[in-house]
Amino acid sequence: MGDCLLEVRAVTKRFPGVVALSGVDLQVREAEVVALIGENGAGKTSLMKILAGVQGADEGELLIEGKARQFSGVHEAQEAGVALIHQELNLADNLTVEENMFLGREPRKFGWIDQKLIHEEAQRVLEMVGLDVAPDTILSDLTLGKQQLVEIAKALSTKARVIIMDEPTSSLSLSEAERLFEVICDLRQRGVSVIYISHRLGEVKELADRVVVFRDGENAGKLEREEIEHDAMVRLMVGRDVSQFYQRTPHELGEVALLVKGLRSVEHPEHTLDFEVRAGEVVGVAGLVGAGRSEMLAALFGAQPGLGGEVTVGGVTGLPRSPAEALNRGLALVPEDRKGQGLILDMAVKENMSLASLRRDAKGPFVDQTKEEELTKEMTEALRVKTPGAWQLARYLSGGNQQKIVLAKWLALKPKVLLLDEPTRGIDIGAKEEIYLLMERFAKEGMAVLFVSSEMEEIMGVADRALVMHEGRISGELGREDFTEEAIMELATGRTLKNAS
C-alpha cells in the first residue's frame, strides 16, 4: 500500500439552499485508480471541482502528500499536480494539438513562443499516451477519442500526479474506450493516480483498484478491488437492492407499426436500411459510435431527411421531409442531446411539455391555457416528474426529470412509433430504471418503440429484438433468445456470426 498522495478530510460544500457535500472523505494513494461513483447530484462533480481548484470548500481539509493545501485557482491545483479532464473537453478545435497542450503556459524564449521546445515536449508526451499523430495536426481533424487522449497528454505535460477524469467514455466508441483504458493502466504503472468518475459500472469493474461511492453528498461506502461487483456498487449507490433492474414481461405484438424500405441517410448513402417494428414491440439498435444509428433516426423523423426510400407509418408511405410531417404521421423522436435538441432550457416545464401538442390543442390561433395546464398536470403525475411547479424552468431540473419532460412532450401526441436516441445517457441509475419502466409501459399500451443505445446491457435488458449496425448498414438482427454480448459485439464490429442462429 503506497502513501496517501491526496487526501480529502471532512469536506463540506454548501450552495444556497442545498448542501452539495457534507463531511466527505477520500484518499488516493500513489499509482492507484480510484473510481468515484454515485447518482447524479451525489456530489461527485462538486468534490472534483474543489480538488481542481475551480471552487473552494466551506469546511474540511485537502492534503497533498500530507500537507494541507488550499487552492484558489485552477493554476495552483495544476502546480500541485492535480489536473481535471472535463466531461465536455476543454480544447480549442481550431488550434493544433501542441498549441492546445501548451495553451496559456507557452514556454518563452526571448519573449517569443519557443516553438521548438513545444514541439519536442508535445511529441514526447503524445508518445506516453500512445497517440500517433503529428503535434501540428489541427485538433478538429481528430476523433473524439483522440481528442480525449490529447487532454490526457496535456495533463501529463503539466506534470500532473493525479488526473481526474469525469465520465471520459461518455462519447467514445468502444475501441476508443479500450484505448483509453490501456492508457490509464499505463499511467498507473508510471506512478500517476487517476480518479475515475463514471456511470458505467462495467468499466469501473475493469479498471478500478478501489471504488468510492457517494450518495446525497455523503460517503455511502467503499469497495476494495476484490469486492467490486456490479450489484454491490448499485446497492451502495441507491441505498437498496435493485433486484430486478430490468423488469419486463412478454409483450404482445400487434400489426407492423413502422415499415422501412430502402432508406438511405445522408451520411451513408451507399447503404439501404430495411426493417420493421411492430406495435407493442421494443427494438434496440446497437452498434458503435459512428455506425449511423442516430442518422437513421434523424432520417426517419425528417430531422435530416433521407435521400431515398420509403417509410410507412399509420398507413402513410413516403419519406418524411420535416419533423412536422413525421409528427403528423405519428412518429416521435427523443433526441440524443437532451439540452441541445430536446428541451427549451429557459422555458417552463409547462411550455416544454406542450410544445409539440400546442397546435393540436389550440383554439384557432390561440394557446388553450386550460388544456395546457391539464396536460402538464396529467403528465407530471403519470411520469412522476419531480419539479417544484409547472412554472419551473427546464434548466433547473435533474437529467432524469428533464428526459421525462421530453417524453411528456411526445406522449401528449400519443405517437404510434416512439424513437429514442440514447434515452438514458447521463442520467442516474434510479431515473434510468424509471425510464425503462416507462418504455415498457408504452409498449404495453401498443406503441412501437425503437431505441438506440451504446450500452449493451441496456439493449439486452430492455429490447425484444436488436438491430445491430455497422458502418451505415444493418449488419444483423438478434432475437431476445440470441442476446449475448459476444453476438452483438461481433455484428457491431462487422465480423460475421460464426454459428448463425
Binding site: P323, L333, P335, Q341, L355, A356, R359, F366
Partner: protein
C-alpha cells in the same frame, strides 16, 4: 423603473417639461419610434437582428411623397405599395436567412446599404416632401391628435402604437405563433424537432419587422413633411435596437416583452428631451448620455438576472 427616474429628474430640472405641449410631443415621438422598436423586437426574440430599418424608413418615407406629389398617385395606393415593399423586403431577408443560412447581421447590413442607395437613385438624391398645401388631410395620420385637457392631447402616432402594441402583445403571449417565436429564440433546433416550422416563423418575424419599419417610415414623413434621401432615417435601426434592449430584449434571443419595448422607447425619447431642455446639458452630448444609460441598464439587468438564477437554484 428607469422611466420613472428619468421622468422625475427631468421634471425637476426643467419647468417646461411637464407642460401639456411637451408631454404630447413626447408621446408623438414615442409613437413614431416605438413602431420601429416593436418591429425589431420580433426579430430580436428569434435571436436575429435587423440593421436595415433606418433605410427602409428612408425608402418608404421618401418614396411616399415621391409617388403622391411627383407622380400623382392616390395616397391610399401609395400607402398600399409602401406596405407591400415592406413585406417584400422582410420576405427577402427571411428567405436568405433561413433557406441560405446567411447571418442576419450580414443580410440586413447589405439591406441597409441597398435601400438607402436605391432611394437616392430613384429620387435623384433630391429632397422629398408634401409641400405646404394640398395634403393636410392625408398628413393628419402623422400629425393629428385628440385633444384632451389644456394643451395636452393624444397624438395619432401614439394611438397607432397603442393599437399595434395590443395586437403584438396578443400575438406574442396568447397565440401559438408567439410561443413558437420565444421557443425558437431559445433553442431553434429543439423547436424544429418538436414539429414547428421554424423557418416560416423566422421569415414571419422579418416580415413583421420590415412592414412596421415601412409603416413607421410613412408616419415619419407624414409627420415631418420633408426628407433628405441621404440621411433620412439614419441610425433609426440603432435607436430601435437600443430601445428593445433597454426594454429587456436579449440579443441572445427568446426574451422580451412588448411593454418593456414601449417603455424602452419612451426612456430613449425622454432622455433626448431632457438633454434638449436641461440647459446645462449640451445637445451634442446626446449619444454619450444615451449610450451611458443603456450600458448601465444592461449591466444592472445582468446582475439582477444572476441574483435571480442563484435564488432559483436555492
Amino acid at each position: 423603473m428607469t422611466l420613472v427616474v428619468v421622468y422625475v429628474i427631468t421634471a425637476f430640472l426643467n419647468e417646461n417639461f411637464l407642460g401639456g405641449y411637451n408631454q404630447s410631443k413626447q408621446l408623438e415621438r414615442t409613437g413614431l419610434y416605438g413602431i420601429l422598436s416593436l418591429g425589431v423586437a420580433f426579430v430580436i426574440i428569434t435571436r436575429g437582428i435587423d440593421l436595415s430599418i433606418g433605410s427602409v424608413v428612408c425608402l418608404v418615407g421618401c418614396g411616399l411623397p415621391w409617388l403622391v406629389v411627383r407622380h400623382g398617385w392616390h395616397p391610399a395606393t401609395a400607402v398600399g405599395l409602401g406596405l407591400i415593399v415592406g413585406l417584400v423586403i422582410g420576405l427577402f431577408h427571411g428567405l436568405l436567412i433561413t433557406k441560405l443560412k446567411l447571418q442576419p447581421f450580414v443580410v440586413t447590413l447589405c439591406g441597409l446599404l441597398i435601400y438607402r442607395g436605391a432611394t437616392r437613385g430613384i429620387t435623384d438624391d433630391q429632397s422629398q416632401g408634401f409641400g405646404n398645401s394640398g395634403y393636410e388631410s392625408f398628413r393628419e395620420w402623422g400629425t393629428g391628435e385628440i385633444e384632451l385637457v389644456g394643451k395636452f392631447s393624444l397624438p395619432y402616432p401614439f394611438l397607432i402604437l397603442v393599437v399595434l402594441s395590443i395586437a403584438g402583445w396578443i400575438f406574442l403571449r396568447k397565440t401559438i405563433w408567439g410561443r413558437y417565436l420565444f421557443a425558437l429564440g431559445n433553442n431553434e433546433e429543439a423547436t424544429r424537432l418538436s414539429g414547428v416550422n421554424t423557418d416560416r416563423m423566422i421569415i414571419l418575424s422579418y416580415v413583421i419587422c420590415s412592414m412596421l419599419a415601412s409603416l413607421g417610415g410613412m408616419l415619419f414623413i407624414l409627420n415631418g413633411n420633408s426628407a433628405q434621401p441621404s440621411d433620412y432615417g439614419n441610425f433609426f435601426e440603432l435607436y430601435a435596437i437600443a430601445a428593445a434592449v433597454l426594454g429587456g430584449c436579449s440579443l441572445r434571443g427568446g426574451e422580451g416583452t412588448i411593454l418593456g419595448v414601449i417603455i424602452g422607447t419612451a426612456v430613449m425619447q425622454l432622455l433626448k428631451n431632457m438633454i434638449n431642455l436641461v440647459t446645462w446639458l449640451e445637445t451634442h452630448m446626446e449619444f454619450f448620455i444615451v449610450g451611458l444609460v443603456l450600458l448601465v441598464a444592461v449591466v444592472m439587468d445582468e446582475i439582477a438576472k444572476r441574483r435571480a438564477a442563484k435564488r432559483r437554484l436555492g
